[in-house]
Symmetry: C2
Subunit: 170 residues, 2 copies
């Protein structure tokens, strides 16, 4: 099974000149989703994971499937103001302006071994901020996983210490 | 297992006087998540489902688990401007102003039997707009499912034709 068969490129979205990688055809195929989950778990090489952290909102999709397959809890990282209990916040730069994401302070503890997941690694700003949030809570980040990585944007430079596993590279 | 044990009430969030029902403790417990999924599937009484539709962003969480458990595809309904291909849109009223959600036009076809899922039924505006989007694409909505329903807000009045199943009522 070729996972790239389930990724659709939409030109000029969200703006002129961008080739958007759309994972919705993958979501529509349950066999392909199960295959993606099993490939991600293979990529862990048996490393023990105690929690999966997924980044709002597309990181919730496979994040929950991964937590379910690994029989561990799921922790959402959300946009500012969405999590109701006490949070840690992290801001990061966008092309224009900045954005802030948050995690519940009581969601991760020292000794937790984390699989951090998002669907796409582009410039890496969000993933690096999420990485920082987990570190602040003393979680050990075993691996950072993406369905799709856009190699030309070199998002990895913002995650110099992370073990990164992406299923598909463009 | 009592699912209510995994829902945390946070007072005065997002504003004074609101008792927010927080599902993040449920997400942290993989056994409780599997139990929730199995209870939702029991509630389908064997009805055939061909696709699960989940509403951004918290409807993505159990929406994907349900699609995975039922071996069917998942269709995301997203906030305006987030889905890259051709969409149907539906606006709905909020306490102040309005909001718009969208679905990919090619995601649902006549003959599809849909389980529509979101985590929370409050006033019902979002769920009713999602219901309308699926109807426009000629999908048959077999059931609308929520983890939590706030009975006092009577969101069901906006879904008069729907079969609704909520795991937890407040």
């Amino acid at each position: 099974m070729q996972l790239t068969d389930y990724i659709r490129t939409v030109e000029d979205f969200p703006k002129q000149g961008i080739s958007y990688k759309d994972i919705t055809p993958l979501l529509l195929d349950s066999k392909a989703c199960k295959h993606a989950v099993s490939e991600i778990i293979k990529g862990l090489n048996g490393e023990r994971i105690t929690k999966v952290v997924g980044i709002e909102s597309r990181g919730f999709l496979f994040g929950m499937l991964l937590a379910n397959a690994l029989d561990v809890g799921f922790v959402p990282i959300r946009k500012q103001g969405k999590l109701p209990a006490e949070t840690h916040s992290q801001s990061y730069e966008l092309e224009y302006g900045s954005d802030t994401i948050e995690i519940h302070k009581d969601a991760i503890h020292q000794g937790d071994r984390i699989l951090l997941h998002d669907d796409l690694l582009a410039t890496g700003g969000t993933a690096a901020a999420a990485y920082q949030l987990i570190k602040e809570l003393k979680g050990e980040i075993v691996q950072v996983n993406f369905i799709v990585e856009l190699d030309s944007l070199n998002g990895r430079r913002l995650l110099p210490k992370a073990k990164i596993n992406s299923l598909i590279h463009y």
